[in-house]
Amino acid sequence: MGSKQTVFTHEQLEAYQDCTFFTRKEIMRLFHRYQDLAPQLVPLDYTTCPDVKVPYELIGSMPELKDNPFRQRITQVFSDDGDGHMTLDNFLDMFSVMSEMAPRDLKAYYAFKIYDFNNDDYICAWDLEQTVTKLTRGELSAEEVSLVCEKVLDEADGDHDGRLSLEDFQNMILRAPDFLSTFHIRI
């Protein structure tokens, strides 16, 4: 296929196609979206693998993310250092996982990381409280929030250690057939 683009080498594009759920056209489209976020920062030539990170503020202002209460967590999870500043690889990875072609297990894994606010590989009661507060825009009383967290732990904690491990989370995701359609960002 004749590649008229000069942004990536042929091998880079093949690698991206292999490692994400996007086609060649979609990868180029996503690259241009990324480039539009910070035109002065992002070069138009990626053949030399430049180490460029677009800051979180610009990524969080994308229309797909700006009204999402979890946008900070999403960018933190997919960025290299957990600070929300994303390279092109992170960007592609993020939208690949959130695309409709990603399988349930992959999405469940990243959803777990997103809801694990303190990054301790468990969703504890504090993480749950943060999640519920963000979900309801802070309009539930503290008592209601703690009650909800208690019930969630009751229902989902399989090994009864007071926090949700990845297995508990995935077990619970299995029971939610809507998960695949809700954990999906269209770009």
Binding site: E11, A15, D93, D121, V152, A176
Partner: protein, 699 residues
């Protein structure tokens, strides 16, 4: 190897496919069956561009036969995707209103598909041949006024639209007389076409295929939406799975947050209600209120049925003046108004009830609406097949019944338009200007039941009016655009987030069981028990419609020894009750066995869950060991239980950087111990939960 895997994509799928074939290599073959392997591969290849796909397909180490079948599958899938209509419209609706409202429109699309299938069959085998050999018309053709579109009679009467137009002879035979005759040889080069048989078989086949497709879609939808233990864990699911990441507008996002907050509050309230013990007095009062509302609603349904009965009797008794065609519209109008008004009344009555669970409220409303519609339709079916047949002995009663069903369908459409206009547009204007409330909600249950009602009418009328599915298709197309416009302009998303996947299963079940089953019973009764009219139609000389088949079989018996197996099959298998009993008993046994198997699996899942909770979580349970079955490095090491394409593995960024820029050694990144591999292999695959947790689910 890993570097080569990414750089040279030709090698990759083949490697994975071979991996699938080899299994774990320790004697137990955990490789996937061929079809699952192929579907994984098709999914992978589908996401590529066409030229890329061909290039990869060529480079794969598969046999030519396998490659051909893959190619066919891919071509079919891509052509189907291009054919999906309304893709953008549905995306917009889903993005703005959520997946529960979207499920209504998807249901509409499903109904369109069913009707298209039925229509195709009828056109090919019935309407087409009859239209090619039109019979002599009895008398002059009436002039077409505009009223035909509403009443279905007039210049539509003697066309392929109704039963009466179809000939009872074998077409394409110059001296083709009654069925028993046909001694004349057909013209050279032409095919004799037995019209009565074709009529019976086409309608029968159409219903059979619809039944199979419906049951299959229902089972498929049920399989996707139901999970073992899915009724528990509602709080966890609401917290983790209810935020729709697709929503992009600020207003829609705030609405979602409000919805989730309301839902959580409702769940907590429900739980607290259950916790606090209710006094006996209060429970009695609630039971009394519930009983009263149910009694009132059932009474209303009965009242509507009686009203329809009385009115239809009145229509039969009163002499119909020829030319007074507008009078024919009165019965459909009355029935339509009852159908529209009674659910509203039931909803008002439901406000008297104790509202314990909002979800249950919705199901109860659907149930009551359904009972009402069934009562009305049942009365009408009795009226048509029971009374009309008796009264209209000397006329073409099938034509008249077909025309009535056409009128019902058209009137249903007109009333739906009026309801959308007043129920949604005017109500929005009133509620925004006068009452200062938000926009009205889109009532999914009522709209879906109206669709099911329309579809039932179509299925009831197919035998008497073969082009009725075409009318239904046109109606559904118009309804789609009208409802979409009204939704976008006048409504807001429902406040209670529905489990959309459960809903589509419920809709399909409602379509299958009361609606299709009722129509099938009606058809069977009409075919087996009712005497067709003697002056029109393909069965005019017979006692029942089914006799056409019997006559043909007798004709075949006289045909000679070569086709004697067909009459034998007919006599000993189709008409033999013992054989039918045997087949039913076998089916019941298979169903019972399947139920027991599912029960056993559920018990095993419970036992395994207990085991997990008994074993406390190990302290070293970090995320790294859960990658223990990702194989990126050496091909000679044992492979995971099922192969996954590279992109489904997490921790992509580091790998990506390593491979794309080829700066570091990728084999450093993943690190597995032998004990991890052994632990995973211990759990037998068939005891994992139905959808599987993947290679990093259990250790």
């Amino acid at each position: 190897m890993s570097g080569r895997c990414l750089r040279g994509t030709q090698a990759c799928p083949g490697f994975r496919l071979q991996a699938a074939g080899r299994g774990t290599g320790d004697g137990r073959d955990l490789s996937l069956p061929l079809t699952e392997k192929q579907s994984l591969l098709v999914k992978e290849l589908q996401s590529l561009a066409v030229a890329q796909r061909d290039h990869m397909l060529r480079g794969m180490p598969l046999s030519l036969a396998e490659k051909r079948s893959l190619r066919l599958g891919l071509a079919l899938l891509s052509s189907l995707q291009a054919l999906t209509p309304w893709r953008y419209a549905l995306k917009r609706i889903g993005g703005q209103f959520g997946s529960s409202v979207l499920s209504y429109f998807l249901f509409l699309k499903t109904l369109l598909a069913f009707n298209a299938l039925l229509l195709l069959l009828l056109l090919a085998f019935m309407v087409g041949p009859q239209a090619a050999f039109p019979p002599a018309l009895p008398g002059p053709v009436p002039v077409c006024t505009g009223l035909e579109l509403l009443t279905g009679s007039g210049c539509f009467t003697h066309t392929v639209m109704y039963y009466g137009h179809y000939s009872n002879a074998t077409l394409n035979q110059p001296c083709g007389g009654p069925l028993e005759g046909g001694r004349c040889s057909p013209r050279v080069g032409s095919l004799p076409y037995n019209m009565p048989l074709a009529y019976l078989f086409s309608v029968g086949m159409g219903f059979f295929i619809t039944c199979i497709t419906l049951v299959y879609s229902m089972a498929h939808s049920f399989g996707e939406s139901y999970r073992v233990g899915s009724t528990s864990g509602i709080h966890a699911i609401t917290v983790f799975c209810s935020w729709d990441y697709k929503v992009t507008q600020k207003r829609a996002s705030r609405l979602q947050q409000d919805n989730i907050r309301t839902r959580l509050k409702e769940l907590l309230a429900e739980w607290q209600l259950r916790q606090s013990p209710r006094s006996v007095c209060r429970r009695l009062r609630q039971a009394a209120a519930l009983g009263l509302t149910w009694l009132l609603c059932l009474g209303m349904a009965l009242g509507c049925a009686v009203a329809v009965h009385v009115f239809s009797e009145f229509m039969i008794q009163s002499p119909e003046a020829a030319g007074q065609e507008a009078e024919l519209l009165v019965l459909p109008l009355v029935v339509g108004l009852l159908n529209l008004g009674a659910p509203y009344l039931c909803r008002i009555l439901a406000a008297l009830e104790p509202q314990d669970s909002p979800v249950l409220e919705v199901y109860v409303a659907i149930c009551r609406n359904l009972i009402l519609k069934l009562a009305i339709l049942g009365t009408l079916c009795y009226h048509w097949l029971g009374r009309r047949v008796g009264v209209l002995r000397d006329q073409c009663w099938e034509d008249l019944v077909g025309q009535e069903l056409y009128r019902f369908l058209v009137m249903d459409f007109i009333l739906m338009l009026l309801d959308t206009l007043f129920g949604e547009l005017v109500w929005r204007i009133i509620s925004e200007k006068k009452l200062k409330r938000r926009k009205p909600e889109f009532d999914i249950a009522r709209n879906v039941l109206e669709l099911i009602y329309g579809q039932t009418l179509t299925w009831l009328g197919v035998l008497f009016s073969p082009l009725l599915p075409a009318v239904q298709i046109i109606k559904l197309l118009l309804v789609f655009y009208v409802k979409k416009a009204s939704l976008l302009a006048n409504c807001q998303a429902p406040r209670r987030p529905w489990l959309a996947s459960h809903m589509s299963t419920v809709f399909l079940t409602l379509l299958c069981f009361p609606a299709f089953l009722g129509a099938a019973v009606f058809l069977c009764y009409a075919v087996w028990h009712v005497k067709p009219s003697g002056i029109c139609g393909p069965f005019r000389t017979l006692d029942t419609m089914y006799e056409a088949g019997r006559v043909w079989v007798r004709h075949l018996e006289a045909g000679g020894p070569r086709v004697s197996w067909l009459p034998w099959v007919h006599r000993y298998l189709v008409e033999n009750t013992f054989f039918v009993f045997l087949v039913s008993a076998l089916l019941l046994a298979v169903i019972y066995l399947n139920i027991q198997v599912v029960r056993g699996q559920r018990k095993v899942i419970c036992l395994l869950k207990e085991q997990i909770s008994n074993v406390s979580a190990p302290t070293s349970a970090t995320l790294a060991p859960t990658f223990s079955v990702i194989w990126v490095t050496l091909p000679s090491t044992p492979l995971p239980a099922y192969p996954q394409p590279l992109r489904t593995f997490p921790c992509m960024p580091q790998l990506l950087r390593g491979f794309v820029c080829q700066t570091s050694d990728p084999e450093q990144y993943v690190h597995f111990s032998a004990s991890d591999k052994a632990a995973v292999r211990q759990i037998p695959r068939d005891l994992q939960e139905p959808t599987g947790l993947g290679p990093w689910g259990r250790v």
